[in-house]
Symmetry: C2
Subunit: 423 residues, 2 copies
């Protein structure tokens, strides 16, 4: 069922600087794994069923390294505050509703429906502090065909009681129960340890989570250096930490021996970047959110030059929409304003770089994903751009760039995750 | 035919700071003119046919103060260059194709189709230097039900021959012929004088255009202070001008006794702003274009505080899309980055301000338009947001804000221009 050949206009990122394409190319998939891209189908694969997508674009699926399923309901609202006020005014009140399973059912159904038809194939998702609702979300994601990591969020301070974990020992016990349930019930939906961020988590909680991480060998996700007020707060709350990231690392929650995704990294200093590099931490660049909450713009081209692991994120609902196509355009646009308004020594992102972030850059967080090279898992989108009017011929790279600015869910003709076609 | 009552969830900008709304409101239209918004229908209008749009949002149509119909074909492409290089690499080659009427037919058909189904009710449009193609565009716009100003572009230097006007005397004669044709053939599609920008236009050409403007009492549109390289070039080309805007004003092409729209004004200095204010020039704020071409961000909230006339523009294809909804979100986002990265003394735009720009702000360029107050022309959109999932109740203002981020052409249930329903 996972053995076939795809034919169409094939593109993917060979590197952050270079998108490669094959016109009328053949992409054999065996056991859900890409076997390369060819201008003429090698004899070895000639016996496989062929799906010919004609003139449509075949591109890797996209990897959303950071979004809040529980915030889908208020996407596009409240885009006039800064982070800490926005959390208190919109986010925590909304998240508290998820203690009611009936609300979680409605809210998460809408979210999963939207994510399934979006360009996203795999995502690293925040739920809420509530385990039952989180398991409900995971159940829906498991049924959707998407492959995601989902985190029950841990938070035990600086937040209203309605979204607060119990005392650390109890919170850790509850989190462990959630992990065990998740590991038992789901194959393609994985638990990821999710301390909300340092301002939300006492040392005792972080210590317990560090132990859980080690015991179950889990990945970790959190927030890092998004906003200046937040960084100040962390400095006051964690005087023993050398920098914000160190506050996580002290508890073994910052890469090193596990996959770790940190959202934002807008204002990371040199020491923090060096630790990110050493520990192999993935930066989830969230350009729209950073604009909407006026946090700033991360110097992404510099991060790429430094060889850091960088992926892209919608950060729904700091960002307004679940579409990774939009996130790509925001990444380019935000980088241009950073260059023009703030620091012209950090070059703007090219389209190729932004496309790389969304595919190969973020794909690496999930495994050998995000490219169509031999050995990579086949996650893919088939994009029909025929309704994007153009009176002149366009080459494949132009069609791809333009689709990121103009296409929407109507243009997704097919979507494959792990070699399985979702629609 | 233009006498009816609209019922629905009605919103409009009372001022740049304040959006007003009436739930289940009645909006009588007589002779295509709004007679106010009411919670209960006054007896005077009870005899008029009622169109009840139920829970849908009724908002003013949007006014795109600056876009290039001839660039629709390459929207979303080439977003990695600065202005002057981008003009030479993409814009001029594309515009030269419009000397072939068969190409203009295809290209403009696509453009008008898209504009008609967009949130735009009236627009100030650049065509190309070619009169026949420009008249063809105007013919299609006239048939569309939209009400627009269209400019045959004037440009006689610093551009390839294929897009260059003849010598000034001949160019002015040709332009006059185009004006006469346009005035004779079209009712709702008006000619607007369109010197491309100072770098493109010799003094002799500008002088001739100034005379035409006066003779036919035409409005004027052009570009102003978009990019630093451009401003330097103008300084060298027009040594007698005190500042960029003065280079237009010296030929009577900068407001004062006519309506005048100037795109961008990103880097306008104090003298220029004062002249803009005195002359009543409209600033066509083009945030996405200014991001894509890394020009910068205009200090719009400051312009509003100064009482300048400011509207909004997509600047297709410096901007990637014809949707004014997107332009609104770009205006807010760009202003936030300007505040965070460049100058925190100029506050970011609120949603209310950005919505004002797109409706009342730009509407004023076309007449008494852009609001639902007594005496205003009825240009309107009916927005069906029922497919924008939300598990919790939302007030009208939240629904409106969110729709700007999430809605697309599928959500436009109806569109009225000048009291006439287009669809």
């Amino acid at each position: 069922m996972k053995d076939f050949v795809i034919k169409g206009q094939i593109l993917y990122s060979a590197s952050p600087e270079r998108i490669v394409w094959t016109e009328n190319g053949y992409l054999p998939v065996v056991g859900g794994i890409c076997r390369g891209v060819f201008s003429a189908l090698p004899a070895a694969f000639s016996g496989l069923p062929l799906e010919d997508f004609g003139d449509r674009l075949i591109l890797p699926g996209m990897y959303d390294l950071h979004l809040h399923a529980s915030q889908f309901a208020f996407r596009g609202l409240g885009m006039d505050m800064e982070l800490l006020d926005w959390l208190n005014r919109y986010t925590f009140p909304e998240e508290s509703k998820f203690r009611e399973l009936s609300y979680a059912e409605r809210a998460y159904e809408g979210f999963v429906t939207a994510l399934r038809r979006s360009p996203t194939v795999r995502a690293s998702i925040f739920a809420t502090v509530h385990s039952p609702a989180t398991l409900l979300l995971m159940e829906k994601l498991e049924a959707s065909g998407l492959h995601c990591c989902v985190g029950k969020v841990n938070m035990d301070r600086n937040c209203p009681p309605s979204v607060r974990d119990p005392a650390p020992e109890e919170a850790v016990r509850e989190t462990e129960q959630w992990i065990l349930q998740a590991l038992e019930r789901f194959s393609n939906t994985k638990p990821i340890l999710t301390p909300r961020f340092i301002p939300s988590c006492t040392d005792a909680l972080l210590e317990g989570l560090g132990a859980l991480r080690h015991k179950y060998d889990l990945p970790v996700q959190s927030h890092l250096s998004e906003n200046l007020g937040e960084i100040d707060l962390v400095r006051r709350l964690s005087p023993a930490a050398r920098f914000y990231g160190d506050a996580y690392d002290r508890f073994g929650l910052f890469g090193r021996d596990h996959r770790c995704a940190m959202a934002h990294c807008v204002h990371s200093g040199e020491e923090e970047l060096e630790r990110i590099r050493q520990n192999g931490v993935f930066i989830a660049h969230s350009p729209e959110s950073n604009m909407n909450l006026a946090s700033g713009v991360a110097p992404v081209s510099r991060y790429l030059e430094m060889g850091l692991q960088v992926g892209l994120a919608t950060d729904l609902a700091g960002g307004s929409h679940e579409s990774m196509f939009k996130a790509i355009t925001h990444a380019v646009q935000a980088s241009k304003l950073r260059w023009r308004l703030y620091d012209n020594s950090v070059s703007p992102l090219s389209f190729a770089q932004a496309f790389h972030l969304a595919t190969a850059g973020g794909g690496a967080f999930f495994g050998k994903m995000g490219k169509f090279e031999d050995g990579y898992v086949f996650d893919a989108l088939v994009l029909d751009d025929s309704n994007l009017f153009h009176p002149q011929p366009l080459d494949l790279l132009s069609r791809l760039e333009r689709a990121m600015y103009l296409a929407d869910d109507r243009n997704l003709a097919a979507k494959f995750v792990d070699g399985v076609r979702l629609f």
